[in-house]
Amino acid sequence: MSSENNNNNKSRMTWEGCSVLLDINDGDRLVFARLSPAAKLKIGNKNCSLQPLIGCPFGTVFQLDSSSDAAAFLSPFQSKGSVNNTEEIKDGQFQVESKDGQPSGESKDNRSLIDNNTAQSLTGEDIEDMRRQGAKGNEIIEALIANSATFDKKTSFSQEKYRLKKQKKYAPKVLIRRPVARSICEAYFKKYPLKIGFLRVDTLSLLLSMANVSSNSDILVVDMVGGLLTGAVAERLGGTGFVCNSYLGQAPSMDIVRIFNLSDEICKRIVRTSVSDLLSQKESPEQNPKHDVGSLESQSNDQMNASVSMEEISHSSENVISDVGAENAENSSFPALRACKAIKAGEKASQEMIDSWKENGFSSLIIAAPDLDTWTLVKDLLPLLSNSAPFAIYHQYLQPLATCMHNLQLEKMAIGLQITEPWLREYQVLPSRTHPCMQMSAFGGYILSGTKISSS
C-alpha cells in the first residue's frame, strides 16, 4: 500500500517532462504544455520560462511578475490573507463578504456613474513610467485604484470586478492543473469541442460507467474523438487489462492520449487494431474474402502510421520547447503537443492478443465515432463482446442511435437498451444571490446503452 501511495503522491507534484494544463486568469485561456527548463509560455506580450513550475504541487497558482523590461518570470502567488479569504471567483463574478459572512448591506448603486472615460486620471504613459521604474503588477493596480475617481462609488461587487480586470492585465495568474480525463475533456469542450466530437464531461463519465470500465477488463473502443476516450479508459484501467482502439481504414489520431500523464505501465495497456483484423480472425478466408482484402489494406496503413509516429517521436525528443502551444491557443485550438516523450501508447495489438479476445470476448464496448454508421459498426463489433457485456455508444445525433436500437431489438442481440441524454446545469452559489448560471451548455450528446446477450 505504501508504494502505491507514494506513486500517487508523486503524481501530485510536477516534474521535468510532465504534461500540465495551465489555466491562465481563471479559464480565460487554457494551455496544455510539457514542462522543461527551456519551455516558454507567452502571456500577453511577455515570454516567460516554465522552469519555476517544475517540482511544484499541482494546484499551485503562479503570478506573472513583469516589472521593468527584464524578462518576465512566474513566481508562486502569495495570497494576501485579507483579500483572498473573502474573494471567490465564480464564473467571472465575485463574492465579497463582510466580516460576519453576511452580504454587506450595500446602499451604493450605479446612479452616479457616467461613462465619459474621465474617471481614470493615470495615462498609459504614466503606467509605462511606473513599469520602467520597476513597479510590480500589484502596485500598478493599487495606483489605478487610487487614481480612479469613481472606484469608491462602486458597490463592493463592482470594485472587485474592477480589481480582477486590472489583475488579469497587469498581474496575470497561472494555475497548474493535472491533465486528467475531467480537465482535458472540459478544456477541449470549452475551447475546441469539434476535436472531441462535442463530447461533454458528464457524457464521457456516463460512457465509462455504462460500459463498466474497471480494472482487469478488456475494453473495445472506437475512438474518433482525438484519443480522449482511449485516454479516459486507460486512466480508469490503471495499468491492468487493455483498451483496444479499433478503427476502420486508417488509424485515427490519438493525440489527446499524450496529454494525460499516463505511466509507461498504463501506456502499454493501450493497443490498436483495425476492425477488419478483429473480424477477419473470426471467419475463414473463403467465407468472406472482402474482409481479407480490408485487412491487407489496413495492414499497410498500419505500417505507414507506425513509421510516421516513429518520426514524430524522434523529432520531438530533440525539440522540447515547441511543446507549449501557447501562441495558437488564442485561435481557440490546442496545438497537439508536438514534442513529447516517447511513450508507446497505441502499439498494434499482437496476434496473440487478438486471438485471446476472439476466444474470451471483450468485457465491454464504447463507441464515439461521429462519422461512422452506427448500426453497421455495432452489428460487426457486438459479437466480439462476451455475453452479458455492457456497451455504450455516443452520438451527437439521435437518429443513428434510434435506428441502431431498433435493429438490436429486432435481431435480439441485446437487452436493457436505453437512449439517454444527460443534462448538466451549473449554479452560482452566493449569499442571497444563488441561481442557475446564465449560460449553460444546452447539449452534451446522446448515449445508447445496453447489455449483449447470448445468441444461442
Binding site: 504541487p57 463519465s205 455475453n387 446545469r425
Partner: protein
C-alpha cells in the same frame, strides 16, 4: 462483481457456478439479484425457475421456467446493482454517480472517504474506480445500516476494497488516521458543513471534495464554509432524459388519390409485421421521443478542491 484477476473476468468461457451472484432480468425496469444455490428455485409471474438449470450456462443466457416463461441471467455490474439493491435510504443513481467519480478524479489506487454509507449504491462504483490497489473507507452512524451494507459488499465481492465504519462524521469528523491521506472525500449528510473542516484535514493538497445535497439551503451553507480552505468551488445538477422509440407508418396526404382534394388522408398503407424493417428499411421509419416522465431532481453536487499553499 469486479475481476480481481484477469482470468476471473467475464468471458465466453466463464459459466455460471453455484454460489455466483446473478442479476435476473425480466424487463429493463424489473430486475432482481439472486445468489445461485443448487436446489433453490426462483418464482415469479413467469413461473418457477430451477437454479440447477442455470449452472453451467454462460452469463447473458436466456433461461426458461417450468411454464415456458423466460428471464435473462446477467453478470452483476455496479450499474445493475444500483437498480436491484435494497433501498435502506434514498440512493444515488447513475447520472450523479458517474459525474461524481469523474469530477472527483478518482482513479485506481486512490484513497476515498465517504459518509454516509446509506445503501451503498455510490460506494459500489467508488470501489470499482479505485480498484485494484486503492481503498474506500465509508462511514455511517447507523449501526444496522452499516452492517447491512457490509453484508452487501461481501455479497458483491467488494469487501477487500471497502471498509465500513460506524461513526457520526458530522459530530466527530473522520478518524485522525486518515489525516492528509485522502485523495477524495464524498459527503452525503444532512448538515455537510459540519463535516467540511474534518474533510479538509483528511485531504491531500489539491485533493477533491464533493457534497451531495437535495436542498439549496444545504448547498448555500456548505459553500460558505468551503470558502476558507477550498478553491474551485462549483455546484451542479445533473439529470438524464431517456428516449423511447417506435417504428411508425405515418399517413400521408396525397392530393390526387381517391379523387379528393387532398384534405382527406389517402388509404392507409398496409402495415407489415414481422421482418419488415430488415427487408425494406425505407418503408417505415423509427421515431424517437423523450419519455413522458423523468426524475426531475436528485440533488445538487458541490465540488471543491483543497487549496494549495506553497
Amino acid at each position: 462483481m469486479l475481476a480481481s484477476h484477469p482470468e476471473k473476468r467475464i468471458s465466453f468461457n466463464r459459466l455460471i457456478r453455484n454460489g455466483d451472484l446473478v442479476i435476473v432480468y425480466e424487463r429493463h425496469d424489473n430486475m432482481k439479484a439472486v445468489t445461485v444455490s443448487e436446489g433453490s428455485v426462483l418464482q415469479n409471474r413467469f413461473g418457477v425457475f430451477k437454479h440447477s438449470d442455470w449452472i453451467g450456462k454462460p452469463f447473458g443466457s436466456k433461461v426458461f421456467s417450468s411454464k415456458g416463461g423466460f428471464v435473462y441471467l446477467l453478470a452483476p455490474t455496479p450499474e445493475l446493482w444500483t437498480l436491484v439493491l435494497s433501498h435502506r435510504t434514498q440512493i444515488l443513481y447513475i447520472a450523479d454517480i458517474s459525474f461524481v467519480i469523474m469530477y472527483l478524479e478518482i482513479v485506481p489506487g486512490c484513497l476515498v472517504l465517504e459518509s454516509g454509507t446509506g445503501s451503498g449504491s455510490l460506494t459500489t462504483s467508488l470501489a470499482r474506480a479505485v480498484a485494484p490497489t486503492g481503498h474506500v473507507y465509508t462511514f455511517d452512524f447507523h449501526e444496522q445500516r452499516s452492517a447491512s451494507a457490509r453484508d452487501d459488499f461481501e455479497r458483491t465481492g467488494l469487501s477487500n476494497l471497502i471498509s465500513c465504519g460506524v461513526r457520526d462524521i458530522q459530530g466527530v469528523g473522520f478518524p485522525d488516521e486518515f489525516t492528509g491521506l485522502a485523495d477524495s472525500v464524498f459527503l452525503d449528510l444532512p448538515q455537510p458543513w459540519l463535516a467540511i473542516p474534518s474533510a479538509a484535514k483528511m485531504l491531500k493538497q489539491d485533493g477533491t471534495l464533493c457534497s451531495f445535497s437535495p436542498c439549496i439551503e444545504q448547498v448555500q451553507r456548505s459553500c460558505d464554509v468551503l470558502q476558507s480552505r477550498f478553491t474551485d468551488i462549483r455546484t451542479f445538477e445533473v439529470l438524464l432524459r431517456t428516449y423511447e422509440i417506435r417504428e411508425g407508418q405515418m399517413e400521408s396526404f396525397r392530393g390526387d388519390d381517391n379523387g379528393s382534394n387532398g384534405s382527406i388522408p389517402c388509404k392507409r398503407r398496409q402495415c407489415s409485421d414481422g421482418n419488415y424493417v430488415l427487408s425494406n428499411p425505407t418503408s417505415s421509419s423509427v421515431m424517437v421521443r423523450p419519455c413522458g416522465e423523468a426524475r426531475g431532481h436528485t440533488g445538487y453536487l458541490t465540488f471543491a478542491r483543497l487549496k494549495c499553499f506553497t
